[in-house]
């Protein structure tokens, strides 16, 4: 099904990766006003990681790092509001005008979402961490 070592697939995945990341970025930033959000973005990035691993382009990194970053971001947002005397997870809103996306009104929720994204990516990395190269090769033969 997945011709992991086929040059055609490899090239295709190589070419598609940046595009997919762009889609992920769009989903991530659009989430506040349009369908999308941190989780969806994480899934797309995760899919990129998955495809690259299956195709044998680079090995995924340590999943625990993604978890660490994600959990840290989420916790910081959750607790930061407490320092300011606000309720847990209360967020700060900033208004910013970005190129291409126009005026973006957002805030600490974006950081929170980034944490979610990191954790979802970490989940993918964890899943593919277990598939070692030999096994991927065997899949290629059998499937």
């Amino acid at each position: 099904m997945i011709r992991g070592r086929s040059p055609v697939v490899r090239s295709a995945i190589r070419a598609a990766s940046p595009l997919a990341l762009l889609v992920a970025a769009f989903l991530f930033f659009a989430g506040h006003n349009q369908p999308g959000g941190g989780f969806a973005a994480g899934l797309v990035i995760g899919a990129v990681v998955a495809l690259r691993t299956v195709a044998g382009i680079g090995r995924p990194q340590d999943a625990t790092r993604w978890f660490a970053v994600g959990t840290a971001l989420v916790s910081v947002v959750a607790l930061a509001s407490l320092l300011g005397g606000e309720p847990l997870l209360d967020q700060v809103i900033v208004s910013e005008t970005l190129p291409l996306l126009g005026k973006v009104k957002s805030g600490s929720a974006l950081v929170f979402d980034a944490g979610v994204t990191a954790i979802v990516v970490g989940l993918f990395v964890a899943v593919f961490d277990g598939l070692d190269a030999d096994e991927l090769g065997r899949d290629e033969v059998q499937v």
Binding site: N33, Q34, P35, F39, L123, V127, G130
Partner: protein, 123 residues
């Protein structure tokens, strides 16, 4: 409430329950995924009638579908996603160890059952 959606929930639950009572971890995984779908659709059905997408400004507030159940449903999707991946890893591990993905009877429970059966024979 839409009867159609309720029936879809019932159908998904039925097949899900049938699958999780299987001995094969793979089929249990499929069953859990279907039960997850059932739960999400149930949340949606409980959220009232269909409406416009809940994005402020797209349509008058009255015509929007209720966003709160959708938020719950989204959480449910994510959690069943995590669970499914975990089960997947579990099935893989089982396959690595025993060559198949069948759930064995609990050894300790079988031992106790065998013991009491033996005692019953003595008496």
């Amino acid at each position: 409430m839409s009867v159609t959606l309720a029936l879809v929930v019932g159908g998904l639950t039925s097949v899900g329950v049938y699958l999780i009572t299987s001995r094969s971890l793979t089929r249990m995984l499929l069953g859990f995924a279907l039960l997850g779908h059932a739960a999400v659709v149930a949340l949606l059905a409980a959220g009232g009638e269909a409406g416009e997408r809940p994005i402020s400004g797209d349509a008058p507030v009255d015509e929007l579908s209720d966003p709160l159940p959708q938020a719950f449903a989204l959480t449910a999707i994510v959690i069943s996603f995590g669970l499914t991946l975990f089960l997947l890893a579990l099935a893989r591990r089982q396959a690595q160890l025993t060559g198949d993905d069948l759930v064995e009877d609990d050894l300790e429970d079988r031992r106790i059952a065998l013991e009491t059966e033996a005692e019953g024979d003595d008496a």
